[in-house]
Amino acid sequence: MSTVSMTVNGRKVSGECEDRTLLVHFLRDNLHLTGTHVGCDTSQCGACVVHLDGKSVKSCTMLAVQASGSEVTTIEGIAKGQDLHAVQTAFKEHHGLQCGYCTPGMIMTITDMINRHGSDLDEETVREELDGNICRCTGYHNIVKAALDAASKMGAGQQQVAAE
């Protein structure tokens, strides 16, 4: 057993877990943050994506102890109170989700994508970089639309901040 401490969604947390515990299970079982999902056992589906120190990672692919001391953001942590994150809003407005199971991972992956590409994000890049996220419901059409819309809105927001 190990004691693992990290900052999750801005709060310092610690918990006891077996050494072999995956980060995703630590989040779900120890912290009861069940928004991060498990859809496979081979690191292929992306239902488990969270941000670790600002970068998207598959939380099924690392041990909780490896994340010790890191800053983790999960789907529960990206809205500001009642104000949804731009990617969350875009998913709703473009019907980018059906059953919602892949959605947390999709939103975390796309947020990271937009952080890196800004408003330059194009369809080809979205499709290519969604390689590690599987959705069985939507056919991706509306997910791609949501990503591009959020990118243009977040990019515009960044430019606005820069101009001010």
Binding site: G35, Q88, C99, G100, Y101, R136, T138
Partner: protein, 781 residues
């Protein structure tokens, strides 16, 4: 959000919880004292179990118990059943092989559950499951449907001689034979429909909780139809009495058919909870899902189509071998029979049809309904044959279809179905316009200049949704009625709760059903709450599959709304001192037509509950229920056009455009309908290009992870162009046909027709992987 009725693009009410990580799926549930289960599964495709030794496992840390099939049997837990009786053509009933929830002496597919370990943690349960020592005596294995019928094939069940479950027929054999006596032309094809794994991204899960103090059972489960689960678990499996069993299907992460059936795991978790007196949770991992979720398709068929000199189809003859897997799943007999061969007339006038289906057992996972269930198999067979016929006749595929389209309705096919309405040519014309078919040859030439092979393929599908009139399906062998129920509870303040037997696992019922209610009384959609998925809340329901939630589930809601409206009008008339016939309810007001006399909707609702001033003899309250039994299936139809570019050097196919022109009847929420089409198309394209369940000769599943089973990813798919046309269904109150499965049904033949057009070789099977396409190109080069 205001009043937004039928036809409006209303953003989904349910989205907020999913985009914020607040969805509640079965594996998210925990109850105090909960323990974890792991199943011990067969590593062999066919073997006798000679001994089970769990002594080491029992001694491992955290282990509470190990239970196996002997104890299950001793406790009187019944075998898994198939709920649809199909008879062979000689009148004999189907031969159901005994299927205990935990194996009883023999295992017949890899992954079949043998025992369950209950332990304090998930890892402890898994470690202990690995430590259960089982000795096997291996038996010979058969995995392919046609091989199972061969002389000397390994025999699976003593009940089913030659592995034959049933040998079924439909249509008029004699009349069909006549059509082939003197035809102008006969088209012949061998058709393989590849085996698929449905793959909802949420794996199956079950949390069984027996409460000894109350002698009551609760089961959280990933189900598309919790009431059916409760009925079957109590009436057939004897796990718990129906009135003492609560089944809850909370948020469910996709179903696609795989979550219709009642599997061994939920039965065993519930039973294990009673044995161990702790709540028991099991969550499938992806490999277990590949091994044990019911697969779909897996047909091997021969088709012959007879034509006269005017290119009219005069007869269709089909022989199919359907692989059922090792055991019969809940609806496995209906899928390759009444859901398949009844659609073999397609969109065409075919005077004579005969089909024979042999359903066989093999050492593979059970096969049942997967998105489309039978209709994709029928559509693939017909639409590939149509395209092939047009090519052999040297006329355009559109022209050949025009010659043969059904144009007057209702239309009785020779295979049971009676199509109520449709306009097939209008869909095809719309599709051809959207796809710019006229400009295709130019695009083909341009592609050729770049060294690419461009092809165009069409598919004009028809399918049957809204399953189904109870009397009719009863006469065909269904063990249940296929009506739906609804209850409308109007609260004293005028807000409304709708309790429905339909179940949403991605379809957006919380929004579309609310729109129907909003439209009726002019109340905002946010004042309407949809309640589903809990047998303690909703009295009964048959659940969601076969695109039945609109056509059947919503019709039950409409019927209950009619009753609420009638009572509200009576109360309104009484309060406004007007004639009941003059009352209208709209925009949240109850008015006397042609006057300015009116009451707010909530005033009438409050009046119903205070009971201070009701018509003489009227009961207080405003709550009504209804059961709706459909009069007929509904018949969505449409035209899909796929355009591909194939790289002859690598065999890689790229879909350059995909067009869908669908007639779903009336549409409640076009945004949600489009989403359903996109998702269906992705699965249909997945079947055509990527997906295939593959067992090796020893019955080991080679495609048991996402490393090996190719799921469609964003990169594999184009943006879709989707339009809907409307011929309202004539047999239900809202004129809905259903849209959930069309994409998966119509897409595969459009893709394959496009590739075979591009490469000039019709000899190609799904999935059309680069290797197969490359070989097909080089076979004719």
């Amino acid at each position: 959000m205001g009043v937004e009725g039928i036809g409006a693009k209303v953003l989904r009410k349910e989205d907020r919880r999913f985009i914020t990580g607040m969805g509640r799926y079965t594996d998210d549930m925990s109850v105090p004292g909960m323990k974890y289960a792991a199943f011990v599964r067969s590593p062999h495709a066919h073997a006798k179990i000679t001994s089970i030794d769990a002594s080491a496992a029992r001694d491992m840390p955290g282990v509470i118990d190990f239970l196996d099939g002997q104890q299950l049997k001793a406790d009187g837990i019944g075998n898994i059943i198939c709920g649809w009786q199909v008879n062979s053509k000689d009148g004999s009933p189907m031969k159901m092989g005994a299927y205990p929830a935990l194996a009883d002496g023999v295992v017949r597919y890899v992954g079949q559950p043998i025992g369950i370990v209950v332990a304090d943690t998930r890892n402890q349960a898994r470690d202990a499951a690995d430590a259960v020592m089982i000795e096997y005596e291996e038996l010979p294995v058969v995995v392919k449907g046609p091989d199972a019928l061969k002389d000397g094939a390994p025999q699976l069940h003593p009940e089913a001689e030659n592995n034959l479950c049933f040998d079924w027929e439909i249509g008029d054999e004699g009349a069909t034979a006549k059509a082939f006596e003197n035809p102008a032309k006969v088209i012949r094809l061998d058709i393989l429909n590849n085996r698929l794994s449905p793959n909802p991204i949420e794996p199956r899960a079950a949390l069984g909780h027996y409460n000894p103090a109350e002698d009551h059972y609760t089961c959280y489960t990933t189900s598309q139809n919790p009431h059916v689960a409760r009925l079957v678990m109590s009436a057939f499996y004897n796990v718990a009495p129906e009135h003492k069993l609560r089944v809850i299907a909370p948020d469910v992460g996709g179903g696609f058919g795989a979550k219709i059936y009642i599997y061994p795991e939920e039965i065993v978790c519930l039973w294990a909870s009673r044995r161990t007196l702790v709540p028991v949770k099991w969550t499938s991992d992806r490999t277990e899902a590949f091994l044990t979720d019911a697969h779909g398709r897996d047909h091997v068929s021969k088709v012959e189509m007879a034509l006269d000199e005017n290119h009219r189809i005069t007869g269709l003859r089909v022989e199919t071998i359907a692989n059922l897997g090792a055991y019969m799943s809940l609806f496995s007999s209906a899928t390759p029979t009444y859901l398949y061969a009844t659609l073999l007339s397609g969109q065409y006038n075919i005077p004579a049809i005969y089909a024979n289906v042999k359903a066989v057992y093999t050492n593979t996972a059970p096969v049942d309904a997967y998105r489309g269930a039978g209709r994709p198999e029928a559509t693939y067979l017909i639409e590939r044959t149509m395209e092939t016929a047009a090519r052999e006749l040297g006329i355009s595929p559109a022209e050949f279809r025009r010659i043969n389209f059904i144009r007057s309705f209702p239309h009785q096919t020779p295979v049971i179905m009676n199509y109520d309405t449709g306009d097939f040519e209008a869909c095809m014309e719309a599709g051809m316009r959207m796809a710019d078919v006229a400009g295709f040859e130019e695009r083909r030439t341009e592609a050729k200049s770049r060294g690419k092979l461009r092809g165009l393929g069409m598919s004009c599908y028809i399918e049957a949704c809204g399953i189904a009139p109870s009397k009719a399906v009863g006469s065909l062998g269904a063990g249940v009625g296929l009506w739906e129920s609804a209850e409308i509870r109007v609260n004293p303040v005028g807000t409304i709760e709708v309790l429905t037997g339909s179940h949403s696992h991605g379809q957006g019922h919380e929004t579309t059903f609310a729109q129907v209610v909003s439209q009726r009384f002019g109340v905002p959609v946010e004042n309407v709450q949809i309640v589903h998925g809990d047998t303690d809340k909703v009295q009964f329901g048959m659940g969601t599959y076969g695109s039945r939630s609109g056509a059947v589930g919503c019709s039950a809601i409409v019927k209950a709304l009619d009753k609420v409206e009638a009572k509200a009008k009576k109360i309104g008339a009484h309060l406004l001192e007007a004639d009941e016939g003059d009352i209208v309810i709209e925009n949240g007001e109850v008015k006397v037509a042609g006057t300015d006399k009116k009451l707010a909707w909530h005033e009438v609702c409050l009046g119903a509950y205070t009971g201070h001033n009701l018509p003489d003899g009227m009961e207080p309250g405003l709550k009504e229920g209804a059961f709706y039994d459909p009069q007929n299936f509904t018949f969505p139809a449409g035209c899909y056009i796929c355009e591909v570019e194939v790289d002859p050097d690598t065999g890689v196919t790229k879909i350059v455009q995909f067009i869908a022109a669908d007639d779903f009847g009336n549409v409640i929420n076009p945004m949600i309908v489009e989403g359903q089409v996109h998702g269906g198309l992705a699965q249909g394209i997945g079947q055509a290009l990527l997906e295939g369940v593959n067992y090796d000769e020893s019955g080991q599943l080679v495609t048991a992870s996402y490393m090996d089973y190719a799921m469609p990813r964003a990169w594999d798919l184009p943006m879709f162009k989707v339009e809907t046309l409307v011929t309202p269904c004539t047999t239900n109150p809202l004129g809905l046909k259903g849209c959930g499965e069309a994409g998966a049904i119509g897409a595969p033949p459009a893709v394959i027709n496009a590739i075979t057009d591009a490469i000039g070789n019709n000899d190609l099977t799904m999935p059309a992987t680069p290797e197969k396409v490359w070989n097909a190109i080089n076979a004719v080069a």
